[in-house]
Symmetry: C2
Subunit: 416 residues, 2 copies
């Protein structure tokens, strides 16, 4: 295996070349990659079988096995994803600002590639071509470190993609995979500050925490979502129940799913039984504070303090009662992971206050939190949902994984 | 002294209040702060005397003592700086984008404060009011950790500023100073991820490295500049000498000063003697590679490999000869700290290639690198020069220390 230092040096060489590839060429290559993945589906699926066999032997859960599995249909889906990225506008070279200074200097702020992007993710082989396509279109080289459980699948996919790069006369090191499954290598990877411009972890809270705590490379944190729906006293209660049901149950395992209900005391007696009835369709367990427990009685269980900070990713919902929108905002700001928060209200003043004061990437009025997504926002594909405030917040598309530079032109200006 | 945890909790409470202060009120407070610093100049200078006495006893160099010293004139300068920040446009609340989605959701991307900004800096008491004024105007709370050598000056300044906040009915914890000079406290401060949104180190390379290596909080790296001036074969040589002289000697201790000359072999015989003559006015030592040493003989000394990577901050210049603009670009990208780089040329193609391919925050054509500065770029004050690619690159003004959020409004949209 190539050692990490060589990998880093190769990536740096490749980034300068990646930055200069024209938009047309990038799109052409992405479409060829899609075709090559489909043509090589059999060998990729064979590699995936090795991973699945190991997974079964290692006692991996059925749900995890399903995430790991590749099928011809899923490879078609991946190929379709590459076509979508090819169709997106190229962010590189965009003139962001342009101005003159009194001394005659002309300054242009222009969008440029990030350089080398490192991505650390779990055992989902679909992330491999997805991450490559986005970083490639954004003009960067990438180094990928996927979960060890899908190493054979990743090697097979990367081999196909690197072949296309080579056939197209490009540097294959624009895409590199860390093949070692040794944790020490991953730890070392996160220290490679001199080669890598940004590290993006994609996966569960544990993975993200490990990266943030150990990386010397700037990190964009993604994905943990303790999302709230707040039902205001002036809510359309039927709308509120529909939004809550959608946000909680439409897909429970995702970061933009609702984990906690905040309800105004003025409507709790009316809306909580409606909510109980609707959520019972999916057997959602309600973990209630005292006032809401009073309403629901033995239809619910008492919440502990910890419940309000939890990202369940399960058919469980915590319930908190408040006496005002201000109290709702304070509660949410205290427990939020700053991902997506929603108020249901017909009151413009309450909506405005909520959107202004809630500290989250996406603050919704009368819309399900499930829309926090690059596709739903119209960004095309996304590389993740940022929950930090630096660089990017919320859904990250191509622009969010670029940087900029200033180009200054003059005729001999010196500083006095 | 307040313990760090309390400091963090206070900052979080204060950030929500800071975010809601109107532009007019912020400007009014900044002007009152300026006035208060001038009115309390005597007590601030008395505190500064304590620091200076300690500094003398501790054998601090004259240059460092000068950076530490406050005088009535310098306090006037600080007050003037606060007036300038008051006059800058408020970045908070700016609508950055606004669009509708096919399902009827209306999405607004709006600029919001960063939250809590931590700043770690060296023994320059002028940074204290400067950092406060910028973070305050940008709607954030700040926690400052200045060099221990200026702790008494910082305490006196912060006391005056916090008094103004309190008199104006604002939360004084919008500005907090870490008064402990214990290094363990600083180390602990850099781990306070749950309270602080971004950490900005301001100072020398050692300080910045220590923060990057130890912080769990996202960091914006600032300031290290190994800046190059490349004199192309098609340069106006007189202009080239003037730019180099300015970039190297106008102020040697700053990050945008030139540290290395790259010269095209076709002009080296002509331009190097001109450069030697001009730079002799300031006794600049030239450390040359073999071809340039051939030209200058005993007027220069040989460069080692390390010289090309050095930020001297001194009257020393390394000299590298190249045979093409491509070779110049490769050399610069190898040794650059990605701060500011300059080409002197009358050749548009060479200029374009240089600006496109050199990987730096600011890439100049026929302009001195000394212009990389928030004031010179027209941003008003600056909080530093970012040399990383995440969040901000180059001079960072108010906008660069803000974040954004998405506000999404609808009428019951749920995801299918």
């Amino acid at each position: 295996m190539t050692d990490l230092k060589t990998l880093g040096e190769n990536a740096v060489k490749a980034k300068y070349k990646a930055a200069l590839i024209s938009t047309d060429k990038k799109n052409e290559v992405l479409i060829k990659c899609a075709k090559a993945l489909q043509e090589n589906a059999a060998s990729i699926i064979a590699a995936n079988e090795l991973d699945l066999n190991n997974a079964v032997q290692n006692g991996m859960s059925k749900a995890m096995q399903d995430r790991l599995r590749l099928t011809p249909q899923r490879i078609d889906g991946i190929a379709e994803g590459l076509h979508q990225v090819a169709a997106l506008p190229d962010p590189v070279g965009e003139i962001m600002e342009e101005f003159d200074r009194p001394n005659g200097m002309h300054i242009t702020k222009v969008r440029v590639p990030m350089g080398v992007i490192g991505i650390i993710y779990e055992s989902r082989p679909n992330v491999t071509p997805d991450a490559f396509s986005l970083t490639f279109k954004a003009g960067s080289a990438c180094i990928l470190k996927g979960g060890s459980d899908c190493i054979e699948s990743n090697k097979a996919i990367v081999k196909v993609l690197r072949n296309v790069l080579e056939e197209e006369g490009l540097d294959p090191d624009i895409l590199q995979l860390i093949e070692s499954t040794d944790r020490a290598v991953t730890a070392e990877f996160m220290k490679m500050k001199e080669y890598i411009d940004v590290l993006i972890p994609r996966g569960g809270a544990g993975l993200i925490r490990a990266v943030v705590e150990n990386s010397l490379i700037p990190v964009i944190e993604t994905g943990t979502g303790n999302c709230h729906v707040y039902i205001d006293k002036d809510a359309d209660l039927e709308m509120a129940v529909n939004i809550l049901f959608n946000a909680k149950t439409q897909r429970i395992s995702v970061c933009n799913a609702c984990e906690s209900l905040v309800v105004h005391s003025a409507v709790k007696d009316k809306v909580l039984p409606m909510i109980y009835e609707k959520l019972s369709e999916k057997n959602v367990e309600l973990r209630c504070d005292a006032p809401s427990l009073d309403v629901l009685g033995d239809k619910a269980v008492p919440a502990t303090e910890e419940d309000f900070g939890k990202e369940y990713l399960d058919y469980i919902l915590s319930v908190k009662t408040v006496d005002s929108v201000e109290e709702a905002i304070d509660h949410i700001n205290k427990y939020s992971t700053h991902h997506s928060e929603c108020i249901v209200t017909e009151n413009k003043e309450a909506a405005e206050m909520f959107q202004e004061r809630v500290d989250a990437a996406c603050v919704y009025v009368n819309v399900s939190t499930r829309f926090t997504d690059g596709f739903e926002f119209g960004f095309g594909a996304e590389i993740g949902i940022s929950t930090q405030k630096l660089q990017a917040r919320g859904p990250m598309g191509l622009r969010e994984i670029t940087s900029y530079k200033y180009r200054i032109t003059g005729n001999g200006q010196i500083r006095g």
